[in-house]
């Protein structure tokens, strides 16, 4: 016998048939079905295999708390593992496979693990696999060998490696009141808050609003509860101040009421609409929050409680009322409370036979008794189920007398036929969000449940979340919570009338039936009651140790159904009350969230591209582009057939022989303005700027507060109170923040303004012996001769009608100029310069040639100013003013920074005429096979067209003292070893004749 769809009932759309496949087999279901309900309707009860013992498992729940029925959804090559079948809405073309089984779900060799039985108890792996102390498998090898197999047996679903083509998005929302959960409590709260004018968001993880009202079979306001819920939703939908978010799980409660929610926008569709994201990651900043998240029903722990066909009573009720499904024909119930009696009544009305109601209690309420009486089936009070029978599906149960006072079983075990066993072990309020802030939930003895902790953030709770398990209470609390969250003192709304059987919400304090056989606490992780007791025995008695030792509650469901029973069993072993054991810490997410959703709009484009004004020109003119932070910069402009080295050598050589031009727009540029600007620069640069004349620029060096070099660059004095500071591309942001901090926090009395103008200016550096002629041929409005434009001078003029600012400064060591124009004119000016340069043989050059020329000149950049070097290490001591204090001046001379043994900047020349590598080390000993005793490393390398040699800059102990000596480059990682000569870092034109012209 198996579950089936009843002829009528439920709220699926029987007119719409939907086709899907499960493990390759085609099935049909109806619109509104979940995979679980659709498969049940088709008589399928085996959904998956458990984690450790590979036990066959069916579906336990009808919702997000499902531990067993996990499947993998396929979209071509794209796989999505571990999706609860209970949360998966079917659509045409849905393709699902089962997981953690080999070769098939029905026949799984991994099930042999069950034979391990007591050998594979909690934590067994800590006690073995240490392996031999000698031999090839000694040490970690043996463990790694075993681990290989353990890893393959573990894990649940398989993730794919194909890129997910879906789109993910984020959304920021603000509201006065966020209501989480749309059961009777949530709906009331949303309406009350909306009525009082608040901006309200109502989030519900299910596709349908209404929570328990959708399946309770109760009557609210004279309507079927589900009908009442629809009416409420229609009312809310019509309002401007309410936003309804279905399929939206609020999963994180972060500081200051920042709520994280996941909206599954298109998971239920065959294909998303144009531009529609699959998931939307909401951050909702709510003035206050109403938590109306309901409660989860708990199973009972007894031998065989994991057999397919065992299901929570409320889940069965839901399958019947919402999906028109009978989970069995002959249904038994095993309960410790009244709530499940309603399920018996529901199933009976839907056409199932009630085999028996087994209740651990001797006494039950009149309402429950009444339901039992009308239901046929036996009522076995003071009894317990001690075993289930059957193979991959339940065929019967065994029952014994049970003494509520001491948990003892007695009498003969009796057999009863049943193809479905509904269990109910009481209810656990869904307090996860409230508990994420870290406070401890509070145990309620009467309800046998943890209730929410005292709020540390701005929320109010309502309904089953608060342990108010009747609908009437949920409505009352919802109304009150809505009003209070909206800050309203009173509304005119009255609480709707509820008609429902007067069931007693208090369960008997029974969690486990101790009989022979594996009794599961955590279904997914196969944690048994005996595992909990083993943990106890070995001293893992703290609830956190219990969790970590047994993995109780660490599965994909995070113990939604299993934690409380596990805690109860530990409490029993300890002989302590449950609250003394306490719960483990609640953490986000409340339910698993796709990583794609969290990456949101950054999925596919982790960082924005930053482009210079001339970017398109570079690309069109053959540049190979580099990433430099967020920027893109030309590496080389290769000609057909050229290697990178050939290209940069040609570019550098041409520049030194004729002229070259390079895009320097990425340099950080900061406008430093105000009457105290010069004073400020004196404080932050190691050298003097107050003495700089208007219309001149100066090279400057900055240190960090700790005396280490921070950045270098030129600063131009454009007016008395107006400076343009340039920084290296990489450090622009860092320098800006450093300066802003000093001005805002340390010296607010200084009248200085800093503005990032990096993007205002396009920069082109043009250098080489013909550079001045080229400029002269295209610049109007100013002369560029030595008198008008001396070294470090600045002039203003025009190029091809666009205003430009030109400073004569040089990084390449050539006669060179930086031409700045408004960024919007950048391409125009660049093209004019390129045109002007043509007759002179000028080439555009990229970063490689730039690097080559700077290495030849011995200038430092980021590879040397790496946050570990001092000005002295870099040979920049000449820039350290003795006339004034500056940032870092008191720290730079401390013993560790002044140590003679520190590495210092030098040049190196490969004596074997082979290329050098950045990151290679320098050693004194010619010992290639045993690398040791490094005395420094190479920071930058190139083939120097001017020297005709492979050269590099290096930071080496002793520095200058080693000039003229030999050493070895030792680069075992790239198998490069060879002799080098250590020389001055000023390889080329050390006197600077060329740039002074």
């Amino acid at each position: 016998m198996s579950p089936r769809r009843s002829q009528t009932g439920g709220r699926v759309d029987r007119m719409r048939t939907i086709r899907f496949t499960f493990d390759g087999r085609p099935f049909t279901g109806h619109a509104g079905d979940t995979l679980a309900s659709a498969l049940l309707a088709n008589g399928v009860t085996l959904f998956g295999r458990s984690f450790k013992y590979h036990r066959p498992r069916g579906v336990l729940t009808a919702g997000i708390d499902e531990p067993n029925a996990l499947v993998t959804v396929l979209h071509g090559d794209v796989r999505e593992p571990n999706i609860p079948a209970t949360m998966l809405e079917i659509y045409d073309g849905l393709t699902v496979v089962s997981q953690n089984r080999f070769p098939t779900l029905a026949f799984d060799v991994g099930a042999a693990n069950q034979l391990g039985g007591k050998l594979l108890g909690a934590g067994f792996y800590y006690k073995t696999f240490m392996g031999p102390v000698f031999g090839p498998l000694k040490g970690t090898r043996f463990w790694m060998f075993c681990e290989y197999f353990i890893r393959r047996a573990a894990g649940l679903g398989r993730a794919g490696i194909a890129k997910d083509p879906s789109r993910y998005e984020r959304m920021n929302a603000f509201c006065d009141v966020l209501v989480v959960g749309s059961g009777p409590a949530g709906l009331m709260a949303a309406k009350a808050a909306a009525d009082s004018g608040a901006r309200v968001i109502l989030a519900e993880l299910e596709p349908k609003f209404g929570g328990a009202a959708n399946w309770s079979g109760e009557t609210i306001d004279g309507m079927a509860a589900a009908e009442w819920a629809s009416t409420m939703v229609r009312d809310l939908k019509a309002r401007d101040n309410v936003r309804l978010l279905p399929r939206t799980t609020v999963w994180g409660y972060y500081d200051d009421n920042a709520m994280a929610a996941l909206e599954r926008v298109t998971d239920h569709k065959s294909a998303p609409g144009k531009g529609e994201p699959r998931h939307r990651h909401w951050t909702i900043r709510a003035g206050s929050v109403v938590l109306a998240t309901g409660a989860f029903e708990r199973p009972l722990v007894f031998p065989g409680n994991d057999r397919p066909g065992v299901m929570l009573a409320s889940a069965a009720e839901r399958y019947a009322n919402e999906f028109g499904i009978l989970p069995g024909q002959k249904v038994a119930l095993f309960v410790n409370n009244d709530a499940a009696y309603r399920a018996a009544s529901t199933l009976r009305k839907a056409g199932a036979e009630i085999a028996a109601i087994v209740d651990v209690r001797g006494e039950i309420s009149a309402a429950a008794q009444e339901i039992a009486d009308e239901g046929g089936g036996e009522l076995l009070r003071g009894h317990a189920v001690v075993a289930t029978e059957g193979g991959k599906h339940i065929s019967g149960i065994k029952v014994q007398k049970f003494d509520l006072a001491n948990g003892a079983l007695s009498g003969e075990a009796r057999h009863l036929d049943a193809d479905c066993l509904l269990v109910s072990g009481g209810w656990s309020p869904v307090i996860h969000l409230a508990s994420q802030a870290g406070l401890k939930p509070e145990w309620n003895e009467a309800l046998q449940a943890f209730l929410p902790p005292k709020p540390t953030q701005n929320w109010v709770g309502a309904g089953a979340f608060n342990g108010r398990f009747t609908t009437a209470e949920a409505l009352t609390e919802g109304l009150a919570a809505g009003l209070s969250a909206a800050g309203s003192t009173g509304g005119t709304d009255s609480v709707p009338e509820v008609e429902a059987p007067a069931l007693d919400p208090h369960p008997a304090p029974v969690f486990e039936i101790r009989a022979k056989g594996k009794a599961f606490v955590d279904f997914q992780h196969d944690v048994t009651a005996d595992d909990v007791r083993l943990a106890y025995k070995e001293g893992f008695v703290s609830v956190e140790h219990l969790k970590r030792y047994t993995t109780l509650g660490m599965a994909t469901d995070q113990g939604k159904t299993s934690n409380v029973p596990g805690i109860a069993i530990m409490a029993d072993a300890l002989g302590k009350p449950i609250p003394d054991v306490g719960t483990t810490r609640f953490r986000p997410p409340f339910a698993p969230v796709s990583l794609g959703a969290l990456a949101a709009e950054r999925y596919g484009e982790v960082k924005p591209e930053r482009l210079t004004p001339m970017h398109d020109w570079h690309v069109e003119n053959g540049a190979i582009m580099y990433t430099a932070g967020l920027w893109y910069r030309p590496m080389i402009y290769g000609l057909a057939g050229e290697t990178v080295e050939q290209a940069y050598v040609r570019e550098a050589k041409t520049t030194r022989e004729a002229a070259g031009i390079v895009d320097v727009s990425t340099l950080g540029k900061i406008a430093v303005q105000g009457p105290d600007a010069a004073d400020f620069l004196d404080r932050v640069y190691t050298n003097m700027f107050s003495t700089l004349a208007v219309g001149k620029a100066r090279y400057g060096l900055m240190l960090r507060e700790d005396g280490i070099a921070l950045d270098d660059g030129t600063t131009w004095r454009l007016g008395n109170d107006d400076f343009l500071m340039t920084t290296t591309t990489a450090n622009a942001g860092k320098v800006m923040q450093h300066l802003e901090y000093l001005l805002d926090v340390v010296w607010p009395e200084l009248k200085v303004r800093l503005t990032s103008v990096t993007d205002q200016w396009a920069g082109a550096a043009i250098g080489g012996p013909r550079a001045r002629e080229i400029l002269a041929s295209c610049v109007t409005g100013t002369a560029v001769d030595n008198d008008t434009l001396p070294f470090m001078g600045i002039v203003h003029g025009e190029i091809a009608g666009a205003p430009v600012m030109i400073c004569r400064l040089s990084f390449s060591g050539e006669m060179a100029f930086e031409v700045y124009s408004g960024a919007g004119h950048g391409v125009h000016v660049w093209e004019a310069l390129i045109e002007a340069g043509k007759p002179f043989g000028m080439v555009p050059y990229g970063l490689e040639a730039l690097g080559t020329m700077r290495i030849e000149k011995g200038h430092v950049t980021g590879a040397e100013i790496d946050g570990r070097t001092t000005a002295r290490d870099l040979g920049l001591d000449w820039m350290l003013s003795k006339k004034k204090p500056f940032v870092g001046s008191m720290m730079m001379d401390r013993e560790g920074l002044a140590d003679e043994d520190r590495v210092r900047l030098v040049g190196v020349i490969a004596l074997d005429n082979r290329p050098l590598n950045g990151g290679a080390h320098i050693v004194e000993e010619a010992n290639e096979s045993e690398p040791r005793n490094s005395i420094g490393h190479i920071t930058a390398v190139c083939y120097s067209p001017m020297l005709g040699k492979y050269i590099g800059l290096a930071l080496v102990k002793g520095g200058k003292k080693r000039h003229g000596t030999r050493a070895f480059v030792s680069d075992p990682l790239r198998k490069r070893f060879g002799p080098v000569e250590i020389v001055s870092n000023h390889f080329f034109d050390p006197e600077g004749k060329r740039m002074h012209g």
Partner: protein
């Protein structure tokens, strides 16, 4: 004078895009003002600075953080303590303001090339912008004329509301293409038109 070249280049594709069957959710455009100028007052000089803006640009800035005004041609708004962005469709505002604002009052910085102005308008403007910025775009929280400084990851933006469902964004020019691309992408769902 030479015209400024738009940084949007190849990603600027006029026309309707995305899911516009049910109407266009947003209209995206680059407003290309001739002048974008930052003016900043020293503490205590804010009022005199605002007076200068009124005389020179004819824009009467309201008091209060983030206050702003706009006309067809011009706009101004506060975006940081003592700091304002003044925008003019015409060129030359930097020169005028520099002449009028003495160093006792504050500083003037030309950003006409350094910032790109993008206008997002239409019934879904708030929805689209909310995908990027963690600020409240509702009219009550962000009234017309007002300015905001905010950020989307690495991209800093100054935003002025220039209508019930219209916003002008000022972003660093080097990021403009990335911003534009992202805006288009995010607008697909609601249908967008590039003007």
């Amino acid at each position: 004078m030479v015209d400024q070249l738009s940084p949007l280049g190849p990603v600027w594709r006029p026309g309707s895009h995305g899911n516009f069957a049910a109407g266009v959710g947003v209209v995206l455009s680059e407003t290309q003002p001739g002048s974008i100028v930052q003016v900043a007052a020293w503490p205590g000089e804010e009022k005199s600075l605002m007076a200068v803006i009124r005389t020179v640009a004819g824009l009467a800035l309201p008091d209060g953080a983030g206050g702003g005004v706009f006309t067809e041609e011009k706009a101004a708004f506060g975006f940081a303590p003592g700091k304002f962005l003044v925008v003019d469709q015409a060129e030359g505002l930097f020169a005028t303001l520099s002449a009028a604002i003495t160093s006792e009052v504050g500083t003037v910085t030309d950003l006409s090339h350094g910032r790109t102005a993008i206008c997002v308008a239409g019934p879904k403007a708030e929805w689209v912008l909310a995908k990027f910025f963690a600020i409240d775009f509702s009219l009550v929280a962000f009234p017309a004329g007002a300015g905001r400084s905010t950020v989307h990851h690495d991209i800093f933006a100054q935003i002025q509301r220039t209508g019930a469902s219209q916003f002008d964004l000022y972003v660093f020019r080097s990021f403009a293409r990335a911003v534009w691309t992202a805006l288009c992408h995010a607008s697909e769902e609601v249908g967008y038109e590039v003007q």
